[in-house]
Symmetry: C2
Subunit: 355 residues, 2 copies
């Protein structure tokens, strides 16, 4: 990745570091941030001078459009440190491209590649000591953009702020993951913004997810909102279903996020000679497969959760427990993926990019 | 409206007023704010001490959940000053109740009535000089709540900020309003958040609305996302269709905002002996009525736009121009409504509430 022109970024270093206050063995996902952040404002139709500066709160007008009309998008990616202390990104171009697709759908300006990638590289270099080695450890990277223009009128902002913040993490989910198949609530509309990583998509899921949590389920698997018959994705993960020896996953659509982990697992599975079928998966098929014993595994796939095995699902008040599996495809693919990400295995795909 | 216990609100007055810098004859909707705002934070499971203070930017952490997961809701209401300089709200209980319905759907805490209503009253009293008399003039009131808790993990915030800001306005739309009937894009899903005044619902409409604007239409009329055959509502207005002498409007649903203006116009129409049918209105019916000449009027209804006559619509690339009407029901209802709001006519409904 090019780090030319990085001299364009103004760098204001923090006088002190918070790193010694952090218990890296005991991180709660997304709650600790490094010493610096990257920021670039969009004003008068142009991206302004980018800056790296100490992580700190910033001022916003009460009428900022992000508060009132929800123009806000983000990405989630990770950086990994290998045994030689080199730092690697995983398919960053995918996140960059998806970010700008989200921007387009939310009527926000695209962020130039140079600003996104140089910002990311420089910031990671500056806070490199915060990236810990070892499988499971990673630096979670959160690029995001918000509408900072003022005025309570429902039309697109003229001003925006693009930022990158960094949070050292271990893994996202722990323990048993039981899921509820959505029968009434939905996360996305046909012709809506489900395929964008738009902030509003997430808050929309909180209430139904709370209800699921109260009923003893960690996650909801969303279905299509029109018929609730097709399995779509989970809150922050795409989902795979293994029936006999074939993996099934829904095609991406304007309702479903085009996950980087999903597409990576599809390629990895193919390279491991695991059959993958990308087609709409019906709830009725899942129930049938659970009943006749052909349903072997369900797992979620996402940057934060990596590969997250699901132990059972509930539909129409019936709970279907999945068998304890000997040779789990989820674990096989997770190992393969994390080995590549952590540079423990050769990356024959060209997915890892050194910063 | 009770103003007891207002002594609980801490009031920090602005040393100077910006009022003399404002050209009240030339206001752009929602762009000018009064000297003060009302603020109340939610922390540790409790609403904290409310405060009225000078309108000013405030600090937020870059990881605040409103930026990343879109937990943000709002209301839109108006205050009017009558000939005797008394200030009146219009059905404020409706906005208060809807605000808390939105809060529930977005997994945010409900705001107690005392905080909402006393805050509103005290703030309006303090900035009363900003409320101008005369039909068309109003104080637009924007209560809103955002998630201020930190951390990039997709679950509900623990901390929130509730604010009220005030913006003197005249009217929202001006000129000819032509609308496009949505054939692909949608604003809300079945089982989604369309009925909530959630920030994310608005940004979702910007891109398709931009496309409509570029094609020469001011607004989009959304249709149901599953079939695109039923007429739902516009970006910030519910819609009414007059076919012969009957008004039709869609029933509210989990996809459609339960507009205060809509329900008020329905009651006003009934009191004026205008037939109103509340039932799903099909795009095909509208086209048919336009073709056979029975479609007399279409108008939008909302707090900002009041009653906004629509001059024609486009569907499947055919533009249907509406007839210039002699005795417009839209204008009849608008006059009735604004007369009541501005206290030019007796309010036999008990809708107006003096502050
Ligand atoms: C809604 C949704 N689906 C799926 C994913 C998984 O995508 P990725 O693998 O790119 O992280 C995410 C998280 O990024 C998400 O937010
Ligand atoms: C989506 C939507 N529909 C309808 C309306 C009209 O509602 P009300 O009459 O309560 O202002 C609004 C504006 O408030 C709105 O945002």
């Amino acid at each position: 990745m090019s780090t030319t022109q990085t001299n364009k970024i103004e760098i204001l270093k923090s006088a002190t570091s918070k790193i010694n206050e952090v218990d890296f063995g005991n991180l709660s996902f997304g709650s600790v941030f490094t010493d610096h952040l990257f920021e670039c404002d969009f004003k008068n139709g142009e991206w302004q001078k980018p800056v790296i500066k100490p992580y700190a709160p910033f001022l916003l007008d009460p009428s900022s459009r992000v508060f009132h009309y929800g123009q806000a998008i983000f990405e989630g990616m990770k950086a990994y440190k290998d045994a030689n202390d080199d730092v690697w990104l995983f398919r960053p171009d995918e996140n960059y491209n998806r970010f700008n697709k989200s921007a387009l759908r939310m009527a926000m300006p695209e962020v130039p590649e140079e600003i996104f990638m140089n910002g990311l590289n420089q910031l990671l270099q500056l806070d490199e000591a915060w990236i810990k080695k070892g499988k499971g450890n990673a630096m979670y990277i959160r690029p995001f953009m918000i509408a900072t223009g003022t005025g309570v009128i429902a039309n697109p902002s003229h001003d925006y702020k693009f930022m990158i913040i960094l949070s050292p993490v271990t893994s996202y989910y722990s323990g048993d993951v039981k899921v509820l198949i959505a029968e009434h609530f939905s996360r996305a509309a046909n012709g809506g913004i489900g395929a964008a990583k738009a902030a509003g998509n997430y808050a929309a899921q909180f209430y139904p997810t709370n209800l699921a949590n109260q009923a003893g389920f960690q996650q909801v698997i969303w279905t299509d909102d029109a018929t609730h018959t097709k399995l779509e994705e989970a809150g922050t993960m795409n989902v795979f279903f293994r029936i006999n020896d074939t993996l099934f996953t829904a095609p991406v659509s304007e309702r479903i996020l085009d996950g980087v982990t999903r597409k990576t697992l599809i390629e990895l599975a193919k390279s491991e000679n695991i059959a993958v079928e990308i087609r709409p998966v019906l709830v009725s098929e899942l129930v049938e497969a659970a009943k006749n014993g052909s349903l072997k595994e369900i797992f979620g796939a996402g940057t934060a959760a990596v590969v997250s095995p699901i132990s059972g699902f509930s539909y129409q008040d019936v709970y279907y427990d999945l068998p304890k599996i000997e040779k789990s495809v989820a674990i096989q693919l997770k190992d393969k993926l994390t080995n590549i990400q952590n540079k423990l295995e050769e990356d024959t795909f060209g997915w890892t990019v050194k910063i």
